[in-house]
């Protein structure tokens, strides 16, 4: 029994030690909490984490990045409530589910914590929650702009590889694209899941069942990389019109190799960096930009890819 007590005490001390160090070593500047809706497996947010780190260093503030490990928005709402209870100098979050998050965000705003929304959600939702502004890329418009480009090349049908179907914004991207090329979004959007092997197999299956598909649209690095492999395997790489959202190292290579026509850069760097800069200036000097900021879309094509490629996945 004595040795049990000793080992438990030792274990508690070992676990507690890094935490004690962590809490005393935090900076004296303002503290912000950035809450995303993404599950741990989503790599797109790495750019935002990088930009948060850069903002921390430049401004002398601390930023905590939080997310629900499984992507469950119910858990995300609890994280927002927890962040509010810990009294930060500002909260930044994505509006993944307006109904679930509006209550906790309203509470934060009413307690005097400034809130900026980024990424998912519309400007109206952001304003109705009492946020200072929304920084993002309107998804339907981005999909529509992409579809307009594709329609100019004569695309009439497409496959939308949706790896994050539970996020309403992802469906809007496919819908915007479909409307722009004049197609009906029926089975043209597939729920590919997040596992690379699964995504590749589903793309191969769809393309062999529908060989006349005019274009492929993927919604992010998670679905783009396996789709590139699928197209290389069935020989359609470079042949079929392929556009994607977001940037990554594989997508950059795909653009250079003429497999991907363009990548839509939502410029997530701004979705992490700008809120910290704006909140810090708001807290310190009372300055505020009075309108929303669109961080994208920027189209990255073969002409511009070289400059961008090195930084894909980290800064872009």
């Amino acid at each position: 029994m004595k040795s049990l007590i000793k080992s438990v005490a030792l274990a508690t001390a070992i676990v507690a030690a890094p935490l004690m160090v962590a809490t005393t070593a935090s900076a004296e500047g303002e503290r912000y909490v950035f809450i995303s809706h993404a599950p741990d497996s989503d790599s797109w947010w790495n750019t935002i984490k990088t930009s948060l780190g850069i903002a921390e260093g430049q401004l002398g503030v601390t930023v905590e990045y939080r997310n629900p490990p499984t992507g469950d928005i119910g858990d995300m709402a609890r994280i927002v409530e927890q962040a509010t209870a810990s009294g930060p100098d500002g909260i930044i979050l994505s509006i993944a589910d307006f109904d679930a998050l509006s209550g906790p965000v309203r509470d934060a705003v009413d307690q005097g914590i400034p809130v900026i929304t980024v990424n998912s959600g519309t400007a109206e939702q952001s304003a109705s929650m009492g946020a200072l502004m929304h920084i993002g890329q309107p998804e339907y418009d981005a999909g529509h702009a992409a579809g307009t480009r594709a329609a100019k090349e004569g695309v009439k049908s497409f496959l939308c590889v949706n790896h994050y179907i539970t996020n309403a914004a992802s469906v809007e991207r496919c819908q915007g694209f479909a409307d722009a090329i004049g197609a009906d979004l029926g089975n043209q959007m597939i729920d590919s899941g997040q596992d690379p092997a699964e995504i590749k197999n589903k793309v191969l299956a769809y393309l062999s069942a529908n060989p006349d598909t005019g274009a492929v649209l993927t919604l992010g690095p998670t679905s783009a990389a396996p789709t590139i492999n699928a197209l290389k395997e069935n020989g359609m790489a470079g042949d079929i019109y392929f556009g994607t959202f977001d940037l990554s190292a594989e997508i950059a290579t795909g653009v250079k190799e003429d497999i991907i026509a363009w990548a839509i850069d939502q410029q997530p760097f701004f979705q992490g960096y700008l809120p910290i800069v704006l909140l810090t200036n708001y807290n310190r000097y009372g300055l505020l930009i009075p309108h929303n900021i669109n961080s994208g879309p920027g189209f990255v094509t073969k002409a511009t890819i070289d400059a961008v490629a090195d930084m894909a996945g980290e800064y872009r």
Binding site: M1, L4, V8, A11, T12, V15, A16, L19, M20, A22, T23, S26, D40, E64, Y65, R66, N67, P69, T70, G71, D72, I73, G74, A77, R78, I79, E81, Q82, A83, T84, A85, S86, G87, A96, D97, F98, D99, A100, G103, R106, D107, V109, D110, Q111, G112, G130, I165, T166, N167, A168, V171, Q175, D191
Partner: protein, 373 residues
């Protein structure tokens, strides 16, 4: 005549145990120790981070209550010797069912809720019946339903509304009599009084100016307490509770002594489904929306809470109060790690370490109690 010595006062074959030690030797002891340790740990590392302010206490209490609701169901089922891995998918399915029945199908909210309960408890009974009929491990049968229910949830959402998050449920639930039973708050007057007298902070601006930051006890917590009391009473004070232990300890011997093992197991599967629907309804009513990915992986969190609370994975031993304490530990640790400022990517490492420590502690204590080697 030989001398007759006075009969010995004690029988040296009987070991003396002090009253204090006797009261400690309960199955919940591991859970109690774990809870004390966890609170001490967070008092040391996070006492000034807002974790023990009223809003902070409400935050981890709600998260713990969420786990408690599904842990009670999982505990009774695990004591009966079975697992249910479909709880998380059932939560998503139930939430989506309420949303679709009330928005797309147009039923009033109370009918949507009652229909959802009936549908999901039937699915729970189906789980149990399949396990009994086929003799397959419940692990496999419920794993299949994990996929089936999650898929049906996503399909139903996209097929009817082309979205996977269905909102606007607060408006649908306005004026309904059953909705506040799951999504409302009680003791609001008491909290308003505390706010007025300065015991709790009040909002400084906005539409809720003057209202206390914590404005009531959510029905989620009330349901958790009701289910714990019900589960504990059922398990320890009724004949049915004995049957649950017997079915989990050794099903065949239990059958020989007349315990209706099949009925017990099916009823426990139905109860687990019931708990999942209570969770889902409270969540949907509180948030006003249902999502297709709600409840993802919650079944493992329920099982973890039950194991931290001292139940045996093989069945036949455990306690509902222990499971509740396990859920409390899990909720406090999950939210407390955020309060303590732990790096988000290390979060799961700490969770796993604490889980391991809790289970090892429990095993040692259980061996000390039961004298097992």
């Amino acid at each position: 005549m030989s001398e007759v010595s006075a009969p010995p006062n004690d029988d040296e074959r009987v070991k003396e145990i002090s009253g204090f030690r006797k009261s400690l030797m309960r199955p919940e002891l591991g859970g109690i120790c774990g809870t004390v340790l966890v609170f001490v740990f967070f008092l040391l590392t996070a006492s000034d981070s807002g974790m023990f302010s009223p809003a902070g206490v409400m935050n981890w209490s709600i998260v713990s209550a969420q786990f408690m609701i599904i842990a009670v169901g999982a505990c009774l089922l695990m004591i009966a010797g079975e697992f249910d891995l479909s709880v998380g998918s059932m939560i998503g399915f139930a939430g989506m069912s309420i949303a679709l029945l009330s928005t797309s199908a147009g039923f009033p909210m109370w009918i949507a809720i009652i229909l959802t309960f009936i549908i999901c408890v039937t699915i729970g009974a189906l789980n149990g019946w399949l396990v009994i009929k086929t003799g397959l491990p419940s692990f496999i049968v419920t794993l299949a339903f994990l996929f089936i229910l999650r898929g049906v949830t996503i399909f139903a959402a996209i097929a009817t509304t082309r979205k996977t998050i269905i909102g606007g449920l607060r408006e649908e639930a306005a004026g309904d009599w059953l909705a506040p039973v799951f999504g409302g708050k009680i003791l609001t007057g008491f909290f308003q009084w505390m706010g007025d007298n300065g015991w709790i902070e009040v909002f400084s601006r906005g539409t809720r100016e003057g209202q206390p930051v914590v404005d009531g006890i959510p029905m989620l917590i009330v349901w958790a307490i009701i289910l714990i009391i019900f589960g504990h009473f059922l398990l320890t004070r009724t004949k049915f509770g004995n049957w649950i232990f017997a079915a989990g300890g050794d099903a065949q011997s239990a059958r020989y002594t007349g315990v209706p093992v099949n009925r017990v197991k099916i009823l426990m599967f139905m109860f687990t489904a019931f708990c999942a629907v209570v969770f889902a309804t409270c969540q949907v009513m509180e948030f006003g929306s249902a999502g297709a990915d709600r409840g993802l992986l919650k079944e493992f969190e329920a099982i973890i809470s039950v194991v931290i609370g001292g139940a045996l994975l093989t069945g036949g031993y455990g306690s509902v109060v222990g499971a509740a304490l396990g859920a409390l530990i899990f909720g406090v640790v999950q939210q407390g790690l955020f309060f303590a400022g732990v790096e988000s990517s290390l979060f799961r490492v700490f969770l796993g370490v604490i889980l391991l420590l809790a289970v090892i502690l429990n095993t040692y204590i259980r061996r000390a109690i039961t004298g097992e080697k």
